[in-house]
Symmetry: C2
Subunit: 380 residues, 2 copies
């Protein structure tokens, strides 16, 4: 699709992605939206997919919130049979059991896989928002997902489940709408980002902003800041897995034809391959907005005191999952979150997993994640 | 000094840095040099400083090898009273006791603080080497330091001591010249870099190489690739300290006037400040060469089998120092190094320190480092 075309003005229905890939999802216009930290847009559309059946009472809804880069295609569908990013976790008898639950996943506001974000056209101007998009907060991702659910007639959630940025979103959701969440699952996330994680993400954003092709965000869509995006993605990738896993997988193995001052090690070839795929499927400005939202999030900002903020998390039961090898959201953050929620009187189950794959373990080590999340969602 | 001037053709003596700062060091031309992995230069000069007095037998020499960025100014001198990078570790009664030892530190070959490197002029062409400089190895840093010592009439070392890249250099020195080293001290280093460390350094180098100002290494010296260097240095800095220290020092504190999509957090302001100082004092091509040398180093490449390589490390006694919070050279690497040296029959003392400052602890936490290194060097 060329710049200037307005995808979000299309009627609700099965659409292709406005910018990049061509998945089949539903699109819902939830109307005008005012952002958590100010600014508004005349309309927000959210791309979403669902699995399982909504029951009569509309009481079996699980909202699945996403990390920074995934879209709403968490599982294959009839319309899009390609595997989703949590394929093994969703389905009949799976952890997110579609025999019981109606699972819904939407692409976050601010992203570029169908939902309204910086790469979308501002209907007021006919031009893309780019850096004029309002400041994005984790709270906006939660609040717009809720508006989507309301537009579908859903007012209460059986559960909100999310990992990484999605784990922050699920936490924000339960704090902002405490009477609307029965169970909360927050995975490899935290009440706020660590200084180290902020530093790593800040460098990623700087790599994009300092790419001359970025043009203050006004790059032509067919000439994005690929060099900065590749650097950002590589640094992101390095932080998503554990040093131990990198060592086991790639050791100090060299590529077949090492190039001095180029690709010499297998780890470099891997990062290059992964990054070169990603940079053509994600909008640079959206990356900046979503990355920054993670740094700015603080559950404790939801009340006068930290204690009150944790007390606001309204789920009847909460599952906090952490991974011992995670360097981006280290397990100490999940322990701290669980402890503070308990201190606020919450019913919290903490699962500390020894997966090797670091922050991304929730995408890979399903043998460990499935039973933990499945049994938590199964319990009355 | 302008591009084209030839500093290394100056007579031996007290000189200013050819490119950047203006320290007072000695410069020794050690003649032509053939590099470990091939290629040669018609002459190598090394900048060096010394502390203490050489004894008659020339048997009290401690060679101090450096990390990636420091020059030879490890301690203040009469000629340069500014504090050196290991000021508190060198001097009468200090860990490197100048009442007993003659301490010498040289700027590594390949660096830009006085010694011959990519920023130096190739006397054959009258132009700077830049990326035509031969492939640099840790072994070259060790071998050229040895040639410097030989030119000063020193044939045996009481000790070789080094941290980080310098810790690799000290290890290489003892493996390459096993009969010339009495004591070996290798600090926060390893027999080879971890996959994770290679990945982080690879991204740093890519940030420099993809800066359009880099010009394949041929940037005018007054127009270096500052943007790429800043990104590289920031990522380096983040990896030099521990996530725990970053958290304690900067938390999620915001700067006074946060700028959206700019500097918002104190950690970002700190990295910006540190990087903006560094990028004007270090040559980008030299950074590429030294960073890559760390990735390419492998002690095990010194023999047919790993066991033989460790057996070649010829020091009579070895001290291996590691820091529990180091993410770049994690303490497991020092444990492994010590174990393998012991398995090869070496006399090894391992010191595992709990400093908070990660990889850079050896520069900061002298209360922990001084007694460990001091008592090791004191023992007969």
């Amino acid at each position: 699709m060329r710049d200037g075309e307005d995808s979000i003005a299309r009627p609700l229905g099965l659409l292709h992605s406005p910018t990049f890939a061509m998945p089949a999802y539903r699109l819902q216009n939830i109307g005008p939206y005012r952002f958590h930290r100010g600014g508004e847009v005349p309309e927000v559309s959210l791309a979403y997919e669902t699995w399982g059946a909504l029951n009569h009472a509309r009481s079996n809804v699980v909202l699945l919130t996403t990390g920074l880069s995934p879209g709403c295609h968490a599982h294959s569908t009839l319309l899009d049979p390609s595997p989703g990013w949590w394929e093994g976790m969703i389905g009949p008898g799976r952890a997110l059991d579609t025999d019981r639950y109606f699972v819904i996943c939407n692409n976050s506001v601010g992203s570029c896989h169908g939902s309204t974000g910086p790469a979308s056209v501002d209907p007021r101007t006919g031009s893309r928002y780019r850096m004029s998009f309002p400041e994005l907060s984790v709270e906006d991702i939660a609040a717009t997902s809720r508006l989507l659910l309301q537009s579908l007639g859903v007012t209460k959630l059986a559960a909100v489940v999310g990992s990484s940025l999605g784990g922050m979103t699920s936490l924000a959701y339960a704090a902002m709408f405490p009477h609307e969440v029965d169970k909360l699952v927050t995975i490899s996330a935290a009440a706020s980002a660590s200084t180290f994680a902020i530093a790593l993400r800040s460098i990623q954003r700087e790599a994009i902003r300092t790419d001359p092709a970025w043009l203050d965000g006004s790059y032509p869509l067919d000439k994005p800041p690929l060099v900065g995006m590749a650097l950002a993605r590589k640094l992101g990738l390095v932080s998503y897995r554990s040093p131990g896993e990198w060592g086991l997988r790639f050791k100090r193995d060299r590529v077949e034809k090492p190039k001095a001052h180029g690709i010499e090690f297998e780890i470099e070839a891997y990062l290059e391959h992964q990054a070169s795929r990603f940079i053509h499927t994600f909008d640079a400005n959206c990356y900046l907005y979503l990355s920054r939202a993670m740094d700015l999030f603080s559950l404790e900002s939801h009340a006068e005191t930290p204690e009150e903020a944790y007390a606001r998390v309204g789920a009847r039961r909460t599952l906090v999952v952490g991974v011992e090898t995670d360097i981006l959201f280290p397990v100490e953050q999940q322990l701290d979150l669980a402890n503070r929620l308990r201190a606020a009187g919450k019913n919290v189950h903490l699962a500390r997993l020894s997966s090797l794959q670091g922050h991304d373990s929730f995408l890979i080590d399903l043998d460990r994640f499935s039973p933990v999340i499945g049994s938590f969602l199964e319990e009355g």
